[in-house]
């Protein structure tokens, strides 16, 4: 589904990603783990076409999307959930949900069914209650739900989620885990940045450890759980 080859990225003189190669198969949940500054967020931004100083190739569904702008990548089925959740303050909750165009209206029929607005509201009743409020009047957890629901409504095939559980209560983290498993069952693929390695091991299939802009290790769930203590220490949590 997604194949990244030799991806490098710079911020001016500083290199943030060094020759990163990885792949994500359809229906998987794959996490990126690593310390702050390891290049995880930059990697997702490069996949979305948001980082200007990048080289290397990104193939999505067999097509080289490296030269495409962000909106074209989104319309091909990449759903982006940024690290700050990216909820618009000048848009109501409902407008936040309706802003991104639904994939498939232009004839790309296959892939997971886009969520209807009704389904979003049934799954997240709180969003219905607050649908006329500005997006940023929601709590942190609700904003995260909104950001997830927003890309599910487009029928995105691959979610790029930048630390969806950061700063949220254990209860909300559990809820997000439930949603990720549910969308996976519906055929959505997820590439997830996650510092909470325990949570990562409960939702994901595979894990990549990033350090100083490189993928230094690839781990499966058993390895992550066996090395949880070591990893936590390494991540400085």
């Amino acid at each position: 589904m997604l194949r990244v080859d030799g991806l490098s990225a710079w911020y001016g003189e500083a290199q943030a990603l060094r020759d990163v190669s990885l792949h994500v198969e359809e229906g998987e949940i794959v996490t990126l783990v690593g310390r702050n500054g390891a290049g995880k967020t930059t990697l997702l931004r490069c996949l979305m076409g948001l980082h200007p100083g990048a080289s290397g190739t990104v193939r999505f569904l067999g097509e080289d999307v490296s030269a495409l702008g962000p909106h074209k990548r989104a319309r091909r089925g990449l759903g982006y959930v940024p690290d700050d959740r990216g909820v618009f303050a000048t848009l109501s909750v409902e407008e936040n949900l309706l802003l991104p165009p639904v994939r498939g209206v232009r004839g790309r029929g296959d892939g997971p069914e886009p969520w209807s607005l009704d389904r979003v509201y049934e799954t997240f009743p709180r969003l219905r209650e607050r649908r006329r409020f500005p997006g940023t009047k929601l709590s942190g957890g609700e904003q995260q739900m909104l950001a997830l629901a927003r890309v599910l409504r487009t029928g995105a095939r691959l979610l790029l989620c930048d630390e969806p559980t950061e700063g949220l209560s254990p209860l909300v983290v559990q809820q997000i885990g439930g949603i990720l498993r549910e969308v996976k069952a519906a055929g959505v693929t997820v590439l997830l940045i996650e510092q909470n390695v325990h949570f990562a091991a409960t939702v994901a299939d595979r894990h990549h450890l990033l350090a100083e802009g490189r993928v230094v290790e690839s781990l499966d769930n058993d390895e992550v759980l066996a090395r949880e203590h070591e990893l936590l220490q390494y991540l400085g949590i």
Binding site: P70, H71, A74, Y80, T90, L91, L99, P101
Partner: protein
């Protein structure tokens, strides 16, 4: 006193229309359009030339001139501003500033610096009894039209899909693109629309203000202050601040004439000390 306040609101009508155009352009493109005053001036001159040389009346000019200058704006955005946008913002500052000087000097060369007369449209020649005082009908018309246009733009921004995209792209252009919205497609029409609004204000100004090549540059400094007071990129803030600044400068002119030129900037400094992002601005938008 009441009459002064009314004068202020009429003056504010022009500030509001100009600030509204500047705000949508800044919000959507991140470009401070220094040529905005020049388009206002061209709007007034356009209607003067149409009447003087071709006998085209005010009402037709009020439609045709903004459309024509809006098209010029579209061409400018396509040919120049779009190409300069990825570079340092200074390039577009310099481009629009240079453009303003060129347009102003071209008009100056043709018509000199003296003011050209433009008669009021005959239907609005009289005055209106507003109860407490009578007031020239044309000025009442200007105020009403400005309120209707600003309200209309607000409705479009608040209630339509285009408006939603403009708001989202103003707040976070990059994220809006990452969500699948083709922001670039909307940039050109928004720029053209902002320019057309400036031209519209210029046509409205022709019958009541001196039509001369410097009318834009005289006004635009205050309009920049208005936009800053309202909050950069905030559409509602720009319009509200436009009328407020009109009121303050008219009343200031009446009560403390010695301060009339500086009062707006004192107000701006005070607002910025109190709220650095302007009255309706968001801090992160800066």
């Amino acid at each position: 006193m009441l009459q002064q306040a009314f004068n202020g609101l009429v003056g504010g009508a022009f500030y509001a229309l100009l600030a509204l155009g500047l705000a949508v352009i800044f919000g959507m493109l991140g470009v401070v359009n220094f040529a905005h005053g020049a388009f206002y001036m061209l709007g007034a001159f356009g209607s003067y030339v149409l009447l003087d040389s071709y006998g085209v009346n005010f009402w037709l000019a009020l439609i045709a001139v903004p459309l024509a200058l809006g098209a010029v704006g579209v061409a400018l955005e396509r040919l120049f501003i779009r190409r300069l946008a990825p570079l340092d913002p200074l390039y577009n500052f310099l481009f629009t500033f240079g453009l303003a000087l060129i347009l102003q000097d071209l008009v100056k060369r043709e018509y000199g610096v003296q003011s050209q007369p433009y008669p009021r449209p005959s239907a609005l020649g009289g005055s209106v009894d507003l109860g407490l005082f009578t007031y020239p009908a044309y000025q009442v018309f200007v105020l009403a039209v400005s309120v209707v246009v600003c309200g209309g733009v607000w409705l479009v921004l608040a209630r339509t899909r285009v408006g939603m995209i403009v708001r989202a792209a103003t707040e976070r252009p990059e994220l809006t693109r990452a969500l699948g919205v083709d922001v670039a497609r909307w940039v050109t029409p928004v720029f053209g629309f902002g320019v057309a609004l400036a031209a519209f204000a210029g046509v409205l100004a022709a019958p009541m203000r001196a039509v001369n090549p410097l009318m834009g540059s005289d006004l635009i400094i205050t309009v920049f202050a208005v936009v800053v007071i309202g909050g950069l990129g905030s559409v509602f803030g720009s319009v509200a601040a436009g009328f407020a600044v009109g009121l303050v400068s008219a009343l200031g002119n009446y009560y403390v004439p010695s301060l009339s030129q500086t009062l707006v900037f004192i107000l701006m400094a005070a607002v910025l000390l109190w709220r650095p992002a302007g009255l309706f601005g968001r801090e992160e938008a800066l």
